[in-house]
Symmetry: C2
Subunit: 224 residues, 2 copies
């Protein structure tokens, strides 16, 4: 049986999945001093992701150190990892990750990168191979399905890539870690969603002290 197509992201209570710019994430102290917004954006990002950083599975997978929390948040991180047989991501997310991930990139599966750049597959330690797909989202999904086998395909991000798949009717379900934070500005996860064609059905909802974890199935609405 083929796996599901899903995404799983953190979102602020007001609907943002990223700050106005991700440049703060890799900025030097000097750069942050020159442009105080860099530090503000990084702080926003850290608050959005605050639930996941202490989790043992996340820490080990990102080479952030040993140990960590092992409660429900950690179970959710691990379950999301284990169900994923292949990931798809946009070029921007890849470019940022290329600089930020450890050498053993945190996927340990094939990853399909949507890009106009022609580039040979890039094999990393630990079983992650990046494949660069030049012929669109359907092609990437076909290759990812094939690679994932019985496991699920994760649309990893960013939000533009997620929305392309969602609006094309290609997402079966998604999970949101709703963080107790307001952004006010930034990148909205559902910006440009074709709401007239998409209906949601709650599958699961669970709160920890750190976040509210929401999972919905996606259904197509009949055109009105």
């Amino acid at each position: 049986m083929a796996g599901k197509i899903f995404f799983s992201v953190s979102m602020s209570l007001d609907g943002f999945s990223a700050p106005e710019s991700m440049d703060g994430l890799l900025a030097t102290p000097e750069q942050r001093e020159q442009d105080p917004r860099l530090g503000y954006w990084m702080a926003q990002w850290m608050e959005l992701q605050a639930w996941i950083f202490p989790q043992r599975h996340f820490r080990e997978n990102l080479s952030l150190g040993q140990g960590g929390e092992e409660g429900r948040d950690n179970d959710i991180v691990r379950d999301t990892f284990e169900r994923t047989g292949a990931s798809i991501m946009g070029k921007r997310m890849f470019t940022l990750g290329e600089r930020a991930w450890p050498k053993a990139a945190p996927f340990h599966t094939p990853v399909f990168v949507l890009t106009h750049e022609q580039r040979d597959p890039w094999e990393r330690a630990g079983g992650t191979t990046f494949h660069f797909v030049n012929d669109g989202i359907h092609s990437a999904l076909g290759q990812a399905r094939e690679a994932a086998g019985d496991r699920d395909v994760r649309i990893a991000g960013g939000s533009e890539t997620i929305l392309e798949y969602l609006n094309a009717g290609l997402v079966d379900e998604f999970s949101i870690a709703l963080s107790p934070v307001l952004f006010g500005a930034g990148t909205r996860l559902f910006d440009g969603v074709d709401a007239s064609r998409i209906a949601l059905a709650p599958i699961r909802s669970e709160s920890t002290s750190r976040a509210t974890h929401l999972t919905y199935a996606v259904h197509r609405r009949a055109p009105s």
Copy 2:
């Protein structure tokens, strides 16, 4: 002891608390035929509020009929009603409600309406009296606190009024009924929020089959 200042609204997963226009709500079938958007907006509104319409307390209070559900959603509706000793609302919400509410308006307490219009208090059946406040949000809050006694003051809406109080640092906590629906467009609850000054602390989170009920305490951030 003085009560708390709170708001409690339904919100779509993508952060909207109202459709692009509320004109659909009171439109005639002829008007909806002339402008199909009216029907679409009304359908959006009904989906957003779908969790509350079947609830016994809501039905009885809005004179929508006897009976109804009596589970946790109903408890939450009733608790919100019972804690409220006075409400504050914007002129637009009042104007819409004036046409939509039953003669026994659903508040049964003093209600303070922010408006430039000078108008005598308007007493309705069942204990609701509307007071029209011309001198700003602080004055309205002072009067509402006085009227509420030990009970809480609810900032009823719409979202512009809620945001004025939130950004002024006058809201102690709020509850959101997060509905399993995407709007894509409309009125965003937190549009214009001063995120750099507001921190949230989760108080409660509870899911029913109809909605996820989230309650947060509001804290001021120190200026950075």
